[in-house]
Subunit: 111 residues, 2 copies
Amino acid sequence: MDAFDILGDPVRRRILELLATGEHSSGDVVAVVQREFGITQSAVSQQLRILRDAGFASVRADGTRRIYAVEPGRLREVDDWLDRFRAFWLPRLDALATEVARGKRKRRRQE
Amino acid sequence: MDAFDILGDPVRRRILELLATGEHSSGDVVAVVQREFGITQSAVSQQLRILRDAGFASVRADGTRRIYAVEPGRLREVDDWLDRFRAFWLPRLDALATEVARGKRKRRRQE
DNA sequence: GATCAATATTAGACTACACTAATATTAGCG
DNA sequence: CGCTAATATTAGTGTAGTCTAATATTGATC
């Protein structure tokens, strides 16, 4: 599934924002999302599954709890896609920044 | 409308990719998208309108033609949203890169 | 000013997808 | 073991959003 399709949903984005701050249990995620969006535990669980299946998040078990973490690969896809537009807001990318950007891109291709 | 909702559609993304390479008339866009997605002129025109309304593209008239161009603001929103995840793929942002990144962010807030 | 070319708009149909409600699974604990 | 807590799954429903088909608008040309 395309990365942008996944990020198109506000609940999924909110979950990822939460996970960006560190690992969280399913229950934590449910609590936050339920408070902010007023949807059921089921709905949140379904969104967590979509994030897992799409490779945006990973899970590990801790007893009966499921601990979720960000899986950055798919988000980097989005970052890469934006490359083609960066010239619009970084019109004169100086030598220094170019060097940094180039190194970044090289690293990406290797890994 | 949220930026990610707009980017969730593959036709709209393709149009933006095209506009990233420079201005294009509606007809140009229609030709490319029609070839790749097999949809009607009407559908493409509707998508162009959505991109306009959402602030992702601008138009100017040239006779009976409409010339479309990328409007980078909304794409920068996406870039900004990604900031919170960059630590995952740039774990040790060295002093040089940090300086560049900071300057970039500062510029953004000012403009 | 009739006609053609380029583009936009409108109305209605179809589909994908996120939701709820109900139920299943699994682990820990007395 | 039976019970509870945490989480996942399934089936079914409603709606948002994208499409087609048809039509309208606007500018250029003769």
